[in-house]
Symmetry: C2
Subunit: 381 residues, 2 copies
């Protein structure tokens, strides 16, 4: 029935024509990648007057997949027909009836919204709306209500064609992946880090997922989380990089010896960022994403984040820093990582009973020197 | 009518009793500060069984003000009475009637939700619900509907008192300001930076607002923005710090001379962070907040943010980095800064026509040396 998907990507704040072109072409590539990798046949993907048209007879399936491509604001499975009033009327009626059945309404309220994107069609938009509305009213039990409608029939007219649709599915927005370079995302297996990575991906960043090994159970969990996340990664999806840290025993032993176990977590995070820093440089990534949210646990303090930030010259992006746990959980559920994040993981035997809450950089430096015999950051890991 | 406000602050993830106590005491202080500074009389603020009670005859007014205190999840203006079924019934009916009038409903659906916080009351919660529900049904045209209700009558029982209410106003959540230390917030006069500062405040951070002077019109605007933001700042509201940068002319001249005007914006932001860094150290602040959102304008790139981040050892917090403009605007409108941010400001005469999009750190260093004769960050500003 449908033969095209209308993809709308909004203004996205890139005003120059050149940037817009470039943006469009990346978005089109990501759309193609999404459809190809999900096995959805399509004839053509083309940019037209600020929207993208995906010609396909699998419009419904395509909409499902494209709902996970960033940079898209809304999607409509539509019928492309020649722009003749008669055809428009009949198509609109057909879609209207279908939607009416779907909603199970006896006398739906509706409105018609028409837009002439190019101006060759002889009737103006309000006239199209009136004509199509009258036609539907004649044929179907219904009433027009411009504000409280159950069904909105959309008609977009361009270049001699009409696009008729009754659904507009709102999507994630954001920017197409590949427009904003790369960052390394540290994935721990918890609820927060996948959400942080997701939000960066949403802003067009290609994410290089890195997991610092804790044990097989946690690794398996992180693999599943990344497999879920990469469903949003059309345009750039890397393989999970797993780092087995060699220095852990040495650090733990030394901290225990000095009775400074309370610094274990800060040390551990510092080393994670050191590894992320090294991988970022190898891959040409321009930053590191972390799932920190301020004050979520007692040890997520400005002081501890200061220490951890010293592990790299790269900016650390913390998109969750201003969010409450509730908001983070809501996103995690929406993107399908929440369930996975609550799967069992390896117990970490070395978490101290009372982790340091406001760690001191000076003290950390001293501990670092005691463990490694040199200044923090001098040492490669 | 109301004589108390029930303040709920949820679990907030601080599980140790000690942390909770400390958190409660800061929240109570912030509540007191809010009420005193808005001239709302109250008799007492006390913590009881995981909630805070504000005894006041100005409950409605208090709720308005407390809606801007972070750390609060929900608020109910309530009637505190002795915990006797008879009294509970009559109070519930009175509030029910009042709410019914307010909603203008003839036959409202309602439910009663009771909780025994302490257990001395002889009836269990479901019994209280049944009794109070029956009483209301007898006296008032209405029906019980546990799922689709127009009115919910709440009854909380503790220590021989009953708290009856019909409104539960959801609030910002977050953490009480003062629990998380201080950061410097750069306020430019645009839409984004106040939202970024707001989100950090919401997570319990005291914000030190800094504006780098551009002209009187912009300064006036930023003052108004900060006056709006500080309405959320009970618990720590600083005065706006205005920095008049002395080095601007020198930078502009030199960049022009070298035909590198395209670096003006990056240079300007770098210097802003240098100033923020100096002020942070003076005030003992542990980070800098900025309104950056990735890719919002062509020059908000990972590369340019990398350069700017080199201006400080402190972590730069960018709570908007994962948000779309639309989401930022929505928050700005909600907190009342949007209108102010769109007021006219001083034109900036030195914005280059084509700002650098992917700035290079090496090139920036060279330019910096050419302007100041030394390495970036060596120089104090």
């Amino acid at each position: 029935m449908f033969n095209v998907v209308i993809v709308r990507y909004g203004e996205i704040g890139t005003k120059s024509r050149q940037t817009r072109r470039w943006f469009e072409s990346i978005l089109m590539n990501n759309i193609r990648e999404a459809l190809v990798s999900e096995g959805i046949e399509f004839k053509k993907v083309e940019a037209k007057h600020g929207r993208i048209l995906v010609k396909t007879n699998k419009a419904r399936e395509a909409v499902d997949v494209l709902g996970r491509v960033f940079g898209i604001v809304s999607l409509s499975p539509a019928m492309e027909i020649d722009a003749e009033l008669d055809k428009i009327n009949r198509t609109a009626l057909k879609l209207f009836r279908r939607k009416k059945r779907e909603l199970g309404l006896e006398r739906p309220r509706f409105r018609v919204t028409a837009r002439r994107i190019t101006k060759e069609f002889p009737l103006k938009s309000p006239e199209v709306q009136a004509k199509v509305g009258e036609y539907i009213l004649e044929k179907e039990e219904s009433e027009v209500d411009l504000h409280n409608y159950d069904i909105e029939v959309g008609v977009e007219l361009m270049e001699g064609k009409a696009y008729v649709f009754v659904d507009k599915i709102y999507s994630w927005g954001g920017l197409p992946i590949g427009t904003q370079g790369k960052v390394v995302a540290l994935l721990s297996g918890g609820i927060d880090s996948p959400v942080a990575a997701f939000l960066m991906m949403k802003r067009g960043v290609e994410v290089i997922p890195v997991h610092i090994y804790m044990g097989e159970k946690t690794l398996e969990k992180v693999r599943r989380i990344w497999n879920q996340l990469r469903r949003y990664g059309y345009g750039g999806k890397g393989e999970l990089i797993v780092v087995k840290p060699k220095e852990r025993e040495r650090i733990l032993e030394k901290l225990r010896e000095m009775k400074k176990e309370k610094y274990t977590c800060v040390f551990c995070k510092y080393m994670m960022v050191r590894h992320a820093d090294r991988i970022a440089r190898e891959f040409g990534a321009k930053g590191i994403v972390m799932g920190d949210s301020l004050g979520q646990v007692a040890s997520q303090t400005l002081e501890n984040m200061y220490i951890v930030s010293q592990a790299t010259d790269l900016p650390i992006y913390r998109p969750l820093v201003g969010l409450d746990k509730e908001e983070i959980v809501r996103i995690a559920k929406e993107i399908g990582t929440f369930e996975l994040s609550t799967l069992p993981e390896d117990e970490i035997p070395f978490i101290p009973k009372h982790p340091v809450i406001r760690g001191s950089w000076e003290e950390f430096r001293k501990l670092y020197r005691a463990v490694f015999g040199e200044e923090p950051r001098k040492r490669q890991c």
